[in-house]
């Protein structure tokens, strides 16, 4: 099908819905570690944490759908019911179930897409998903949940390039957040590549995110496009070693127009 993305921005502008004013969002990043293994694959502890912070968007990584290891459990469906948020799942087959990244949204999203990147030298194909949200204030924002390749720095960089080429192929106008587990340290080649042109590391200088009990590395990021337009009014790194090996991020982010 010919996509209608290319005309989307024009229509949004006609409808007075494109970013004309400041965008404010609370976003949360949660790598839940192998489908929620530490929490015995149950959704409730994660839902409780989400409700505590009351975000607009949650980007999750390592989400199972009815896999053998989680006993055929619909983790995302349960979180959606427990939080009242609407889910989007970008996955690939995983045994008898599925595995991938997910997004939960407080507001309806009017468009969603996924890609599955096949990076040579990686042990698995990696899905990335994104949604478009028309916020109650009339602004439109795109949010993507990512879990980047990890076998080598080059692979991680290639993965970022693959995502960029899909994300921006038809839409360079809509402000966008790229949230999740980048599998790359601050100051590494992949992060330098990501932030060289397109992306802004909104949480630059904030705390390490892994391992959750005593973090020594920063692998989880909230990045914003266009570069230079984003800021954070609050950026928390949440340590919950009972739930994941990654710390979670809760960030209040703002995109200011020209």
């Amino acid at each position: 099908m010919k996509r209608i993305t290319s005309i989307l921005a024009a229509f949004l502008l006609m409808a007075g819905m494109a970013a004309a004013q400041e965008i404010s969002l609370r976003v949360m990043s949660m790598n839940i570690r192998m489908g929620g293994e530490y929490a015995d694959y149950k959704s409730a502890p994660f839902s409780e944490l989400i409700r505590e912070f009351d975000p607009d968007i949650v980007c999750c990584q390592e989400v199972d759908y009815k896999s053998a290891r989680n006993g055929g459990y619909d983790w995302l469906g349960n979180v959606a019911m427990e939080t009242g948020m609407f889910p989007y799942y970008a996955s690939r087959p995983y045994g008898s179930g599925e595995f991938g990244v997910a997004i939960l949204s407080r507001y309806p999203f009017f468009k969603a897409e996924k890609i599955i990147s096949e990076i040579e030298g990686e042990n698995e194909d990696r899905p990335t998903g994104w949604i478009y949200i028309n916020l109650p204030d009339g602004n439109t924002v795109r949010v993507a949940s990512v879990h980047l390749a990890l076998q080598s720095s080059q692979n991680t960089t290639r993965h970022i390039a693959d995502i960029n080429s899909s994300l921006f192929a038809e839409d360079e106008a809509t402000p966008c957040l790229l949230v999740g587990d980048f599998n790359a340290d601050e100051g590494s080649g992949p992060i330098d590549y990501a932030t060289m042109k397109r992306w802004q590391d909104i949480g630059k200088g904030t705390g390490k995110t892994i391992p959750a009990d005593k973090p020594t590395r920063r692998l989880d990021y909230v990045m914003g496009y266009p570069k230079g337009k984003w800021s954070s009014t609050d950026y928390k790194v949440i340590s919950r070693p009972d739930l994941s090996d990654h710390c979670f991020i809760v960030a209040d982010v703002v995109c200011s127009p020209d």
């Binding site: 099908m1 989307l8 009242g84 507001y107 309806p108 009017f110 916020l135 109650p136 009339g138």
Partner: protein
């Protein structure tokens, strides 16, 4: 649906079916297959009399054909779950639930239905996002969804839909879109998406405010002769069923369902080429 309305719906099945088999948009073709009428207007092929059952798929559209309350205001989502689970044979490609509104902070009916059926949930908003509640149509489907695509044309008719690999004589990626139309301007916006070739392999199923139906039919005949438009409704309701698709599709039939207090139209489509 109340009993009286239900009976009315049943009585109207015949006329609805008859209406669907025709092409409400006049076919301007001269039948010679050259794609143009003698006066140069574009045309589309007539719908063949014989249906190729291998290329038929259905969409279930649950609606009260009104817009003053949520479809699930007085209904439990379990009724829809039971309906979906009770289907057998050639299953609908998608189930659409009109006015399954998005209430902020509460589980959407589509999420609940999808959870219990193992289907995938989507929500098509039909108005601007509100802080508290947003009107819209829910979609659940068993198919793996490659795209959830959207446009908001002039006139603010929201239209979104899923693209799914429907099993016909061969697997065909097919878009199933939905919208709610309250003005002719909104119809123009939707029709322009199809005629502009921005969409070329899918169907739109939704509802249209009854008072604009005649104007939309006239507009479609005059300005969008390459699209197939079907409308059908129940006299007592404020809205009618609305189907719009390009020449490659035909709407072959409607069935009105009223069982278990769960009013629903089953729309039969044939992929012609």
């Amino acid at each position: 649906m109340r009993l009286k309305e239900y009976m009315t719906a049943i009585l109207l099945v015949g006329s609805i079916t008859a209406g669907c088999q025709g092409n409400v948009t006049p076919d301007n073709g001269d039948g010679n297959g050259n794609g143009e009428t003698p006066d140069g207007q574009p045309s589309i092929p007539d719908i063949p009399e014989e249906t190729d059952e291998r290329n038929v798929f259905t969409v279930d559209f649950f609606t009260d054909l009104r817009d003053d309350r949520s479809y699930f205001a007085d209904r439990d989502h379990d009724m829809a779950v039971n309906h979906i689970k009770s289907q057998s044979g050639n299953l609908p490609a998608a189930y659409l639930f009109d006015r399954s509104d998005f209430v902020t902070g509460q589980p959407n009916p589509m999420v609940l239905i999808a959870y219990e059926t193992g289907y995938h949930p989507f929500f098509v908003q039909t108005e601007k996002t509100s802080e508290t509640a947003t009107k819209g149509t829910g979609i659940v489907t068993a198919y793996s969804v490659s795209d959830f695509d959207s446009a908001i044309p002039a006139g603010m008719a929201f239209m979104s839909g899923i693209t799914i690999p429907v099993q016909l004589s061969t697997i065909q990626n097919t878009g199933i879109y939905t919208t709610t139309l309250d003005s002719t301007e909104q119809f123009e916006g939707i029709a322009s998406l199809w005629t502009g070739k921005r969409l070329n392999d899918g169907v739109t199923v939704g509802k249209i405010e009854s008072g604009i139906k005649d104007d939309v039919a006239d507009m479609a005949a005059a300005r969008y002769p390459t699209l197939r438009l079907f409308m059908a409704g129940i006299e007592e309701t404020d809205y009618d069923l609305f189907v719009l698709c390009p020449a490659a599709f035909a709407c072959r039939n409607f069935e009105v369902w009223g069982n278990e207090g769960l009013p629903c139209y089953r729309v039969y489509f044939e992929k012609l080429f």
